[in-house]
């Protein structure tokens, strides 16, 4: 029902929770003045499954599969964050080959997440073809990851102390072929999307995020880097095998939607560079730390481990009291902070712009809701 008061000029429009362009179950309650939005309030929690409560009732190994379900698009980053946090508490060191394998798989996963994002985002904007090209590339990638990890989407592959299965020759040749193929595909994306006048008009100058807003809302990831701040955990707080690789952090200059899009495209290229270097420098050796206890009883204390997922900083905060089960686990997810900026950025925009902005923030609702 439309309620048009004589005195008030605004009416309420509900976007979601089932809607083609909210990525997941997100509801945005809009107050509109004609086609312009005066207030936008996201309503979340439709997918709350109680992961943090589950953490307190399972032991550390039993909670590991949950990490793949929190953010299903970049599940390996969550695997990595959680495993590293627990390894810190246990005092385990992952051997070099294990770290390299973790990096290779995680970067491949990052590329697959960004490909989904490109496809879905352009679908929101009305371009029906790029999603199929992106998913075509992604199929290739998922087959590679499937070979090693056994799953296509919600990975549960890393273990405390390393990885359980080693890479084989076919994976390495397949990955090299994939790198070559994706590089040539980037040219297509460039000409069909990045240089497309309609796309540029839809995204340039829309959804500007300033540095001050970024600090006050705690943004991370490409959403932050589009505004010109070069903060990437892989470079600012290096972990795992990242210090061994030479790669850049792409940043935007204006902080609009187009910059955030460009940052993700360039990040995929950088991920390819990392994977190439990792494959070239892959050391021999064990993939799992020796002497990993079967009953994990980490020392009492707390730890915070940050990793860079496709959406931003994933932080795993674990409080242990020396038991088999964690006392408290807090999952600091990037989409939570990134989405909270929406009410401020969406004021005085059109619904079409809201869709563009919401997509550019790249939220995955299950990780917000946990």
């Amino acid at each position: 029902m439309i309620e048009l008061g004589i005195e008030e000029k605004t009416y309420t429009l509900n976007l979601g929770p089932q809607h083609p362009s909210t990525h997941g179950v997100l509801r945005v309650v809009l107050e509109m003045d004609g086609e312009y939005i005066t207030k936008a309030e996201p309503v979340i929690g439709y997918g709350h499954r109680g992961h943090e409560h589950m953490a307190e009732n399972r032991n550390y190994q039993q909670f590991l599969p949950n990490m793949g379900r929190v953010d299903y698009l970049h599940a390996l980053a969550y695997n990595q964050g959680y495993c590293m946090a627990v390894e810190k508490l246990l005092g385990l060191t992952v051997p070099e080959r294990g770290e390299f394998i973790r990096v290779i798989l995680s970067e491949l996963n990052r590329i697959s997440s960004h490909l989904v994002w490109i496809g879905a985002y352009l679908l929101d904007l009305g371009a029906f073809t790029p999603i199929l090209y992106a998913f075509d590339d992604r199929e290739n990638l998922l087959d590679l990851l499937d070979r090693i990890t056994g799953s296509r989407l919600t990975y549960c592959f890393y273990r405390f102390g390393g990885v359980p299965r080693d890479l084989d020759e076919e994976f390495i040749t397949g990955t090299r072929a994939f790198i070559k193929r994706l590089r040539s595909r980037f040219r297509d994306y460039e000409s069909l999307v990045t240089k497309n006048v309609i796309f540029i008009n839809r995204t340039r100058g829309v959804g500007l995020i300033t540095r001050d807003q970024a600090v006050r809302y705690g943004l991370t990831g490409p959403t932050l880097r589009g505004s010109g701040i070069a903060y990437d955990i892989r470079k600012s707080e290096p972990y795992s095998a990242y210090p061994a690789f030479d790669f850049q952090i792409p940043i935007g200059d204006k902080g609009d939607v187009f910059d955030r899009y460009l940052v993700r495209i360039l990040e995929m290229e950088q991920s390819l560079r990392i994977i190439e270097q990792a494959l070239n420098q892959l050391p021999n050796g064990p993939i799992m730390a020796d002497k990993v206890p079967k009953r994990l009883k980490p020392a009492a204390g707390e730890v915070y481990q940050a990793v860079e997922s496709a959406r931003g900083e994933f932080g795993c905060y674990i409080v242990s009291q020396g038991d088999l089960k964690p006392y408290r686990i807090k999952l600091r997810v990037p989409s939570f902070g990134n989405l909270s900026i929406l009410p401020e950025v969406a004021v005085d925009t059109l619904v079409a712009d809201l869709v563009a902005i919401l997509g550019s923030v790249d939220v995955v609702i299950p990780e917000i809701d946990r």
């Binding site: 029902m1 439309i2 009416y11 429009l13 809607h19 083609p20 362009s21 086609e35 352009l122 679908l123 929101d124 904007l125 009305g126 371009a127 029906f128 073809t129 199929l132 090209y133 075509d136 069909l192 497309n196 309609i198 796309f199 008009n201 839809r202 059109l350 619904v351 079409a352 712009d353 869709v355």
Partner: protein, 310 residues
Amino acid sequence: MIIGLIGIIALVATNALFLIWMERKVSAHMQLRLGPMEVGPHGAVQTVADALKLMGKELITPEEVDRPVYLLAPIVIFLPVLLVFLVIPFSRSLIIKDMNVGIILILAFSTLAVLALLMAGWSSNNKYATFGAIRSVAQNVAYEIPLLITVMSVILMVGSFKLSDIVAAQGSYWFILVQPLAFILFITCATAETNRNPFDLPEAESELVAGFHTEYTGMRFAMFFLAEYTNMFITSAVAAVLFLGGWQGPILPGVVWFLLKVYALIFLMMWFRWTFPRVRFDQLITLAWKVLIPLAFANLLITALVLKLR
């Protein structure tokens, strides 16, 4: 006349069937996939299967709609389209009624489609549908104007509203060669008039669920669908008549040439749909009023000047 009308209805139905299949195949191949392959050779009979399915669907009428308007809208969108077919010259002899005001009739009746969209959106009693209807009215009104002015440029050259005269005047060269700007403007406006991507805001799926036909199901939804494809045929037919020499062409019979040109233009429109993202609403309106109308006027002026100076 009666035979003609029956012929039209048959043509419209077959055309829609063929175009839906063509759209699915074109979109599929552009998206690195195959499209319908199961039903009939290369999915040729798929549309028939879909039509049968749609006819079998329950016609749900939501409770709070404005019943007479709601039920009339699919009919109103279809009738003008059928009437326009009376004047289209499929070949030298295949015109049902070669009226003196041929082109004016076409333009007048195409505008009636807007009324139907508004009726559909408003009567649905649904915010999204209303949004879609409002957008489509603004869009269609805005793009009518450059369309009309562009057509006027061609009429100036011919000196008559009769469609057969326009075709005859292109005996030595097609008008696209002397009026390339007008052709581009016409195709742009035609894409906007038929609500096709990149101007398909009224049906923008990702923003408005389904726009003005959100609340229509089954056969009523099919009518809107059919009307869109038939509209595409008509605007392409008009473009072929105005710019591409109608049914003229060597060796093959006139009808075949005409249909070839029409379907080539339809393919062009489909190509647009699967390549471009959607234009935002205010950019759409800005484009019409600030870019296309001045260009159309300029074109008209130049045409008039050239004709006067000749």
